[in-house]
Subunit: 131 residues, 6 copies
């Protein structure tokens, strides 16, 4: 069970319910996932994190699907079990196909490999890459 437990809607304070309501309205769902129910133990962090995510994940120069792919890429690279499970589900719900997922995994694996080859060989940055 989560360290401080999960807070269900019916047990939530008005301040937490306000965030839950916004999550459900923004995401057009009636499901609040465990991440938010755990953060609800700290209403300030819940609100701040949700506001940040809402701002960051809104379509902009990058579309929603691309943003979700990036989120999964980081979570896989960090090997965060919860985040991989939840963002993979979310990515698929947003239209990430099996083929996209396969290519995503291949890139994440490759980047993790070449990151270490670059560091391990102690490769100096090319002059032209110094901004």
């Amino acid at each position: 069970m989560a360290t401080l437990g999960l807070i269900e809607y019916k047990d939530a304070s008005p301040r937490v319910r306000e965030v839950y309501d916004d999550i459900m309205a923004t995401r057009k769902t009636d499901y609040i996932n465990n991440f938010w129910k755990a953060l609800a133990n700290d209403p300030a962090t819940l609100k701040r994190t949700w506001e940040d995510i809402k701002q960051i994940m809104a379509p902009g120069a990058l579309d929603l699907l691309t943003k979700e792919l990036i989120y999964v890429a980081v979570s896989v690279s960090n090997q965060c079990g919860y985040c991989i499970a939840s963002h993979t589900a979310s990515a698929r719900a947003k239209g990430v196909t099996d083929d996209m997922f396969r290519e995503l995994m291949a890139i994440v694996g490759m980047a993790n490999e070449t990151n270490r080859l670059a560091s391990g060989y102690q490769i100096e940055i090319d002059e032209r890459y110094k901004t």
Copy 2:
């Protein structure tokens, strides 16, 4: 300097030159960056890594630009200096605008934050996310 040094085209063996030629032809450039010149000390790894990268980064279900964004995201998350420098340059050359870059950074930062919140609160995976 790189651990085993950098191998310039003029000093390269035919086996290495073949890879260099393919890199330049595929990328439509006459520039070989330090990553490949360092890997050239191990022709088998050079060839294997280049063939893998060529296969993985070719447009497929995901377009080239999205793939490059994902590569940068992983490199930043891993904090690999060389890879951030080279793939950021590469991403910009491929059309990643400043606005895209800003959004990319915001997502990478956010994902790294929520990855730790999820782990730190020891949040169990929602039943519906268990594939």
Copy 3:
């Protein structure tokens, strides 16, 4: 089950029992947690690790509670499941309140975010920060 199994007190060699006894005496408990029971398969590492921990976690310029908070912070940042569970329990036993825990999580999340923003934007170190 742990790779080499867990060694219970009754099955332990005198050399291992000596460490177990010291752990129980130092911590004023009769409980030996799985970490030590697993390390007991390597008595040299068991003894060395315990002696190191005892030295490092003793109150000094930093008090015990602060030290435990730092231990949790690192474990969460590394996303080590066992360590998060055991050190969170330990922190709470030592007086870390729910409010302290909430603030701790918020800082760990934030630091992980800004660490990547700093790396991703390739920010050079301010002259005044160069020691």
Copy 4:
């Protein structure tokens, strides 16, 4: 140089200046460090990050000095060069003594060691640590 460059006060937009002014007022300094000058290329992220930091690092259940120690601990664990330099300077300015720093480093090193011992020995979580 930072990817998108550093934005000095005199070149900043009103929206960025507003954040700079708040940073200087809150921190009682006339120095804006490179981190903020780089983020200023993305005013939304600049404002969001600063507001978050201000909220999270304000004294609460944990005092300012403890919070700064935790920030350094995470940055060292992640091996973020910029963040180690800037937060170590900040910690010292806030009263972290050499002795505190020494103990901090010892704990961070130790936690990184035991995190891997726990994972490497595949130690199962003690029943009593399951919250």
Copy 5:
């Protein structure tokens, strides 16, 4: 369950079966582990990864057992649960004794500790180590 499921031999395409057959022949076993059954959802990645592993893990300047120890070391350092479990099993099957395993764990733990001490103290690289 794995994101895209596991593909059993009887359900595999000829292209996947070819790789499975080579794995079984090379490893002199009739067991295909879950890693390959999951990758089989992406035959290109399956084939590429297997060919790479086969090339890299073949005895060369380093013998098989040393190579397997290095693989475990990285997996433990990254805290990848699946990889620790599978490569530890594989290492033991290849002749890694309990004593070797104990020493391996001790080194991995120690290296993770000193890595952070080096970064945390911001130690500059000795002139003689600059290649």
Copy 6:
């Protein structure tokens, strides 16, 4: 410069000199590298770390060269600049050939790739790997 500076032999306390003397005697060298000179600011950590390293890196079930390869593997995986430089130099001094180094890098890169593939595909551990 290192956060607390580097302590030269001539400026060292008797307690620090004793460790320096042991390092030089054990390693049959008159060179003390920056890592120890930085740690010397904390004589307790200096002594503890040196004693641990001496114990762990002594030939046992694994020979010295294998141990050094593992140390480099972890340092590369963690991308610790100082540690990669110093342990690569140390490995070469102990007899690691260019060919061994090449194979080492290839394995470290590969393990980092497959670690993420395993996590990203959310592959469950095979029954037979559960110890």
